[in-house]
């Protein structure tokens, strides 16, 4: 017979924890002799055992005033699940770090039970939980190769928009230049809102079985929130104001009309944020003040990750699904049809970019600035095609999609 000395433990003060653990470890029907400090505690143990589904089969005084209570383990399980497996191999640490790529023994499941709930990786699910209904519960719908490295990168690259930008160095620009910078960063902030809302809408749709995707989307949304913050702060820091342009809104609004995860990744991550990489690089290079340059550089680093995800996800989709290419081209065409009224980037933005790059209203510098902006637009188009090819589209499709892409850049 198993024996357990409960010391001076009482009910409500740990006795039930010890008794529960000892009885859980015993097979149903086995009797455990519990030694408790008094008859009163023996009374309490008897009642606890009855309510917990066990049975007291004997009770007798022991040595030195103690009481011995025989408890027969009940047959019901406390948790409605098979017994936990034995401890497995410990996780592999690299230089003391536990990388996300090392937390699974194998690949994630191709199909996750759409009804399964919040079951952390490795945990055994108890029966009787309510049924969920995750719209995205197949790996192909959401996965990207190298996702674990992207997640690691996102965690490592977090920054603080209040502290990590030299705000004190944003001042003392002449009014015309400050106005141009304000219009540029306000335009960027507008676009960052869309980059926030698009992934945010998928946050609650992905099955918890794909935890890496949850980590990824959360970091993506968090990045965009910080971009909204940093570019809004740049506009406000010197008291300047600029327009939130309706043409940009029209373009961004059409992004929210797309409900497919992969099509959204193509439109936002590959095409939109891809174009923004070039724009942010341009702003970082031509900004007339250190604060604007730092903000653009920090955001640029984040956008590289987002674009990388989009390309990797679309590439994986195209590799596995031959019909995906035409569906994705159709999604680009459909968006373009909604944006027929947009014939080019809003002049308020191109003008502001030109003045910012010129740093002056003198004709010679303005001419330099205009040349730089035209060069940016050419570079953006060329890089867009290159990214689409990298994602796995053929030459013709890549060119067509790039041509159809919104002149708003995002």
């Amino acid at each position: 017979m198993r024996r357990c000395d409960a010391g001076r433990l009482e009910l409500g003060e740990g006795l039930e924890v010890l008794a529960g653990a000892v009885l859980d470890a015993a097979p149903p029907g086995e009797v455990v002799e519990m030694s408790v400090a008094s008859r009163s505690i023996a009374h309490d143990l008897r009642t606890w055992a009855r309510l917990a589904g066990h049975e007291v089969t004997g009770e007798a005084p022991g040595a030195e005033g103690r009481w011995l209570v025989d408890v027969r383990r009940g047959r019901e399980r406390r948790v409605l699940a098979p017994p936990l497996p034995d401890r497995g191999e410990p996780a592999r640490l690299r230089s003391g770090r536990f990388h996300t790529g090392d937390w699974r023994a194998g690949p994630p499941p191709d199909v996750a039970d759409p009804a399964a709930g919040f079951v952390p990786l490795g945990a055994v699910a108890e029966a009787g939980a309510p049924a969920f209904d995750w719209p995205l519960s197949r790996r192909d719908q959401v996965w990207a190769d190298g996702l674990d490295r992207l997640v690691e990168g996102a965690s490592a690259a977090q920054w603080d928009a209040s502290r990590d930008v030299p705000w004190a160095e944003a001042g003392s620009l002449p009014d015309f230049l400050e106005a141009a910078v304000c219009q540029v960063v306000t335009f960027i902030a507008q676009n960052e809102y869309a980059a926030y809302y698009v992934p945010a809408r998928f946050l609650g749709a992905v099955s918890p079985a794909y935890a890496e995707v949850l980590l990824w989307l959360a970091s993506h949304v968090h990045d965009e929130a910080r971009h909204i913050e940093v570019f809004t702060k740049r506009a406000l820091v010197n008291g300047g104001r600029a327009y939130a342009l309706a043409s940009a809104e029209r373009s961004l609004h059409s992004l929210l009309l797309e409900h497919d995860f992969t099509a959204s990744a193509l439109l936002l991550n590959v095409l939109g944020e891809g174009s923004f990489i070039d724009l942010l690089e341009f702003v970082a290079d031509h900004a007339p003040d250190a604060a604007t340059a730092a903000a653009a550089r920090l955001a640029h680093r984040d956008e590289l990750r987002h674009v990388h995800f989009g390309i990797a996800h679309v590439r994986r989709t195209l590799e596995r699904d031959p019909g995906a290419s035409s569906r994705l081209v159709a999604a680009v065409e459909e968006r373009a049809a909604r944006l027929l009224g947009l014939t080019g980037m809003n002049p308020a933005v191109t003008d502001a970019l030109t003045v910012m790059a010129a740093g002056s209203m003198q004709p010679a510098q303005l001419s330099e600035g205009a040349r730089a902006v035209r060069s940016l637009m050419r570079r953006t188009a060329a890089n867009r095609v290159a990214r689409l090819l990298d994602a796995g589209f053929d030459q013709a499709s890549a060119r067509r999609m790039s041509d159809l892409h919104t002149p708003n850049l995002m």
Binding site: D44, R46, T47, L51, L80
Partner: protein, 272 residues
């Protein structure tokens, strides 16, 4: 409507909102197995017993006190169609302050005993009966009664909480509470309970049971009991309702465990 299509009507007392969840769960369980069961909730056990005796319900989920009342009115021929595992070995405990020298029931003489609702079998009627049987001179014991939630027969546990608080404050030397209520108060860490200890435990007795009239269709009764006993705590569909009802296994139940209460109710004038 044919007789077989009429659902079996179970009456219960709504002593807590969770009773609805319990009976919706059980109704689904029986229905899925081809036995139509519906429930009617009453606010007190006296009305439930009336409904059973008058034939308004087929089965009553009764406290032990309600069962004895119904059985008396049915000529001692009421049927028992199931009880919980926890109902089969119920007990009452007397609790006293841990720093009090009292160590057994007879030492109560000359002191005050706190009791729960006077219609509670476990917190009022049975402790008086068992203490008298053990020779406690009840004429020399002052009773401090907490008659809250009358009609619920102590189901809510409110009066027992008042009993425990009164003993902890020193207004009574000891108090009578159901052992299950006591264990729950201890396990929840109720501060007053942590200052008290059990000084006496009553003999065990039966508590709640499903009660039917003597003329209740025996075939229907057998089918009900068969399905009731087949409920498994390990069934995910049932676990929530069974947890709320505090049952892990259903038992057939028998009448012998109610004789002490019948005697007590007769002594104390509850049976006319």
């Amino acid at each position: 409507m044919s007789a077989s299509a009429r659902p079996l009507l179970v009456g219960a007392v709504a002593y807590h909102p969770r009773v609805v969840t319990v009976w919706e769960g059980f109704r689904r369980y029986f229905g899925d197995r081809g036995l139509g069961v519906d429930h009617v909730l009453y606010s007190n056990y006296e009305r439930l017993v009336d409904a059973l005796v008058d034939g308004a319900v087929d089965l009553a989920w009764n406290t032990n006190t309600a069962y004895v009342s119904a059985d008396e009115r049915l000529g001692g021929r009421a049927q028992i169609l199931g009880m919980r595992d926890v109902d089969a070995t119920y007990a009452t405990v007397l609790v006293a302050r841990s720093d009090d020298a009292i160590s057994c029931a007879p030492e109560l003489a000359g002191g005050t005993l706190a009791l729960g609702s006077r219609d509670s079998g476990h917190a009022a009627i049975l402790p008086l009966h068992f203490l008298a049987a053990e020779g406690v001179a009840l004429s020399r014991v002052e009773l401090l009664r907490f008659d809250t939630d009358m009609g619920k027969h102590g189901d809510t546990g409110d009066s027992e909480r008042l009993v425990v608080e009164a003993v902890a404050r020193g207004e009574a030397r000891a108090g009578a509470v159901g052992d299950a209520t006591w264990a729950a108060m201890r396990a929840q860490g109720l501060p007053e309970a942590s200052r008290l200890q059990v000084v006496w435990r009553s003999p065990t007795y039966n508590h709640c049971c499903f009660t039917a009239r003597p003329d209740f269709d025996s075939e229907l009764g057998a089918r009900w009991l068969e399905l009731l006993l087949a409920m498994r705590y390990d069934d995910p569909e049932l676990r929530h309702a069974m947890d709320l009802e505090g049952v892990r296994r259903w038992l057939r139940g028998e009448t012998a465990g109610y004789e002490a209460l019948r005697a007590a109710m007769r002594e104390q004038g509850y049976l006319g």
